[in-house]
């Protein structure tokens, strides 16, 4: 006779079982399978008759400088995107949070449009706008602002500019929204006391605003770091990783190796390295944010 308690435990498992099976079959099993593939020479020409070649793919990644290049590119991409996004998002949030500013809800409604418009479609539109010389940016906007042309086909710095400016457009509203709601939770009295004490705006930012937002900034920075590290579409659509492999990141390069070059084994090896890094970053996120206490 199974006790009531044991029966409840079994029923509990039955409810979570479907999700657990899906996660095992669709995340864990493919991952293990591609660890295996990464030790073979599977590619278009050996799709069915591939053989074990040991660490060759990993050795090639290190010896031919792919690993170093991809790591450096991914760090440039991640930090280069995050720092301007957080700076612009925070500045706009502070501007919108001024008590005596009229029309903030209208501005807010306009400023979140880039976030709301589907990112994939925006990127296709931006791709056309950046074409040199007859795209909208190079023909009208950049000359109007007295800025030099941006041609991501031939210049590495142009390619990064194009990527980071577009990614800033896509993402700043998210940061603005998060910081704006954070600012609104700071009690107004703190600022009034500071006013009585004769504090200037910079002093108020350093002693009230920044300390109050420190936790939110840390949370946003860490979670967005993982997201941006793996962000695929901007690079895939705008530069395709070019010129050469100068703007390739792990995710984009692995995808292209698999689905344009049909180098499945090398792509699998790249995915494994990228996954190890992502899980490492993920564990840091969990440690930092204490999100687990809320979900279990």
């Amino acid at each position: 006779m199974v006790s009531w308690n044991t029966k409840q435990k079994i029923i509990g498992f039955l409810y979570i079982l479907p999700l657990f099976i899906v996660v095992l079959l669709l995340f864990l099993y493919p991952l293990i399978y591609s660890v295996y593939i990464s030790f073979t020479n599977m590619a278009a020409i050996h799709f069915l008759h591939f053989k074990y070649i040991g660490l060759f793919n990993y050795e090639m990644m290190i010896k031919d400088k792919y690993l170093a290049t991809l790591l450096i590119n991914t760090v440039i991409w991640t930090l280069g995107s995050l720092i301007p996004m957080i700076a612009l998002g925070l500045s706009l949030a502070i501007i919108l949070n001024q008590k005596d500013l009229y029309g903030k809800s209208i501005f807010y409604a306009i400023l979140i449009l880039p976030w709301a418009f589907p990112g994939f479609i925006s990127l296709l539109v931006w791709q056309g706008m950046w074409v040199d010389p007859y795209g909208f940016m190079n023909r009208y906007l950049l000359p109007f602002l007295h800025l030099p042309h941006v041609n991501s086909l031939i210049s590495v710095s142009s390619a990064w500019t194009e990527l980071i400016v577009t990614n800033l457009w896509l993402s700043f509203p998210y940061y603005m929204t998060v910081f704006y709601s954070g600012l609104q939770s700071i009690p107004q009295e703190l600022y009034e006391i500071a006013d009585v004490d004769g504090a200037g705006p910079l002093q108020k930012f350093a002693t009230i605003t920044f300390p109050s937002l420190r936790k939110i900034i840390a949370f946003v920075f860490i979670t967005s770091f993982v997201f941006t590290w793996n962000n695929f579409y901007p690079i895939y659509i705008l530069t395709g990783g070019g010129p050469g492999i100068a703007t390739e990141t792990f995710t984009v390069y692995a995808y292209q190796q698999a689905f344009s070059q049909y180098n499945y084994a090398f792509a699998a090896a790249l995915s494994i390295v990228s996954t190890i890094i992502t899980v490492g970053l993920g564990i840091i996120v969990l440690k930092f944010t204490g999100v687990l206490e809320n979900i279990t």
Binding site: Q8, G12, L19, F117, P118, V125, I295
Partner: protein, 293 residues
């Protein structure tokens, strides 16, 4: 006193200048693509400042988009059939995500089981793996099992939303008093019936949010869809279709640019509406369930 007034005016002027500049920058690409969709522009090269000034609205691009057969091997108007494929995939993903997420959320919230925390942590860490990082492994595995088709895509889309939503569902079910189900179970309902009739109804906002997120996630995907069904243009989804119309596959073979613009507007604006709805629901869900920020 006068000095303070000047300071305030300067501060407000700078604020408005920054806001106006960023607002123009925010709207510009969207405005540009809407205006292009109402123009007769055939290629990027013929887009000019005149295109952006609304003088008369030309709907030809929309007509061609909805009726055109750009790829001869497809015997029906191309774009509508691609959209239909996307809707089918997205709806199936939404339903499957809701079922998995609600079951798992119920278990996490109500059931006492050993190793619950370990299980939850494991499932949560898995969500850090982005779809594109698992695209290659999934492709290799699905190729082996003949799943490089719609069924495979639905299976691949579901876990991402379902895992995230399972935790939302858990938090939401936590806030429903267990008395309701217990009363229903005393009245003769089984636990599963109580779950279906009571929990689903009371957690309806989370059910809707999960469905919406699952739908949007699948609808907006390009990377997996292209990897799985890329070569078969008869099976393309709306996003692969848009990629093709934008000229990125082959600029010379793509139809006129205003047709891409019409597609971008026709897809972009409704999806933008759905996104704003999901954002509103998300904010509400989070503020109702104190804890996570």
């Amino acid at each position: 006193m006068k000095f303070r007034l000047i300071k305030k005016i300067v501060r407000l002027i700078i604020s408005y200048l920054v806001l106006i500049a960023i607002a123009i920058w925010s709207v510009l690409p969207i405005y540009y693509i809407i205006m292009t969709s109402f123009s007769k522009v055939g290629g990027l090269i013929s887009i000019s400042i005149k295109t952006l000034i609304p003088n008369h609205i030309y709907l030809g691009a929309y007509k061609t988009l909805l009726e055109g057969r750009f790829i001869p091997s497809i015997k029906v108007p191309n774009f509508p059939i691609w959209v239909l494929h996307s809707i089918e995939l997205a709806a199936a993903t939404a339903v499957l995500s809701v079922i998995l997420a609600m079951l798992a959320g119920y278990s996490l919230s109500r059931m006492q089981m050993p190793a619950k925390q370990t299980l939850a942590t494991f499932i949560y860490i898995i969500t850090f793996l982005p779809m594109t990082a698992t695209a290659v492994p999934l492709y290799l595995l699905f190729a082996k099992f003949h799943l490089l088709n719609y069924l495979g895509l639905i299976l691949a889309y579901t876990p991402g939303t379902a895992v995230f939503a399972a935790f939302l569902a858990k938090l939401s079910i936590d806030s429903i008093p267990p008395d309701y189900e217990e009363a229903a179970m005393i009245d003769g309902l089984s636990r599963f019936q109580a779950f279906l009739r009571i929990i689903f109804r009371l957690a309806l906002p989370v059910v809707m949010l999960t469905a919406l997120l699952g739908f949007l996630g699948a609808y907006m995907d390009y990377a997996l869809a292209y990897a799985f069904i890329g070569p078969a243009s008869t099976k393309w989804t709306a996003m692969i279709g848009l990629y093709y119309l934008s000229g990125l596959f082959n600029y010379a073979a793509a139809p006129a640019y205003n047709i891409f613009a019409a597609g971008a507007v026709l897809m972009g604006l409704p999806l933008m509406g759905l996104f704003l709805v999901s954002q509103k629901m998300m904010t509400k869900a989070y503020s109702n369930l104190a804890g996570i920020k």
